[in-house]
Amino acid sequence: MHEMSVALAVIDQVETAAAQTPDVTAVRSVRLRVGELAGVVPDSLAFCFELACAGTLLEGAELVTEPVPGRARCTPCAHEWAVGMPPSLTCPECQGADVELISGRELRIADVRWEDGDPTLAATPVPIAEEC
């Protein structure tokens, strides 16, 4: 059960990012992309995240996990397939083993929704995907 370690790493990264932005007062949500082969259980992670957020800037923040299906591509025959769970990583077309995983091991923070009080933030180098 390493979800607590993962939750703490997420909080740490969000706090660091927030510390570099003026006047972030609260974090409302964090969106994670979790591959089906990442070895992380979203429910367990959500439980740990809620606990670990207590007393931090992220207290009360929602963790949104976005599952990413595993997909692979055969290098010689270019066939692509959904690997499934448990995964089949030998090419179903040519039975070859020269295969590349296209997706499925992601464990990434995609974006964060937070409250800040600085309306000039858009002029800073911080990329802002959208306002909400």
């Binding site: 990012a17 990583l89 091991r105 990329p127 306002e131």
Partner: protein, 276 residues
């Protein structure tokens, strides 16, 4: 004002960067790390006892670090081989992380160590996600565990450079279906070598040492499909991330002002070590 900020950071980037630094550092001093993963009771310690003895006979400078939630029993067993051994108690943590390993090696690992065997916490889930700076990752399964173990723990078996089957002396009694086991390994990790061993009978003893020495000498390693990543979301077994990993291991930890705008996942910054 409520804003959505695009962070795009790999959650385990800090561990990956630390692992890369450790691998580079150990390589420079001539040490190669072997990371052993299995369920509790699969026979990691018994297998390792045989390999450490064999290494001593062959005058190969080896050391072993054993991680457990509690007790020094494994280290006591391994120390009988006469090689340097260290027990790490994780106090309940289910896996080792690269920074923890680095901390334990500091001031302990003898300078001339050629191979360092790390016996990870008995667990096939969590340790699979953490690169420890190893060159060779070995996953063990005993014949009593069922032929479908590789399917139940695909990330662990899928990232192995070598799979070892233990306790084959009782394979017949437990009706171990070797062909089914091999097919299941092949499904999650096509092309990986499977070695059959029995510590009790001495079957396969020395095989791990041979593979580890070959890896230390730079022999080409099996590359698991799961480690061949089209995306760079997680840098484990991703040598291409080498240089950026090195740089960010420092800047990220210090929280330098560039946590944003990381479109290349391999460059993602992950501050401060995760712990639980």
């Amino acid at each position: 004002m409520c804003r959505v900020v695009d962070l795009q950071q790999a959650v385990l980037a800090k561990n990956d960067a630390t692992a890369h630094l450790l691998r580079t550092h150990l390589h420079t001093r001539g040490t190669t790390v072997v990371n052993l993963l299995s369920s509790p009771g699969s026979g990691k310690t018994a297998l390792l006892e045989g390999e450490l003895l064999r290494a001593r006979e062959r005058s190969v400078a080896v050391a072993a670090l054993s991680a457990d939630l509690a007790t020094e029993n494994d280290a006591t067993r391994l120390a009988r081989s006469g090689v340097p051994v260290k027990q790490v108690l994780t106090d309940g943590l289910c896996h080792l992380e690269a920074a923890m390993l680095a901390g334990h090696l500091d001031g302990w690992l003898p300078d001339d160590t050629r191979l360092l065997f790390v016996e990870n916490v008995g667990n096939l889930v969590c340790p699979a996600s953490y690169d420890l700076g190893e060159t060779l990752r070995v996953v063990l399964a005993s014949v009593t565990e069922g032929e479908d173990k590789p399917l139940k723990y695909p990330t662990a078996f899928g990232l192995a450079h070598l799979v070892m089957v233990t306790k084959t002396d009782i394979a017949e009694a437990v009706e171990f279906d070797e062909r089914a086991f091999r097919a299941n390994v092949e499904r999650v990790n096509p092309g990986v070598e499977v070695v059959l061993t029995s510590a009790r009978r001495g079957r396969g003893t020395g095989a791990l040492l041979d593979r580890a020495l070959a890896a230390a000498e730079g022999a080409p390693l099996h590359t698991p499909v799961m480690a061949r990543r089209a995306d760079a979301g997680h840098t484990h077994a991703h040598s291409g991330a080498a240089e950026s990993g090195h740089t960010h291991a420092h800047t990220g930890a210090e929280g330098a002002g560039h946590a944003h705008v990381h479109t290349d996942a391999a460059d993602a910054v992950a501050p401060a070590a995760p712990r639980s």
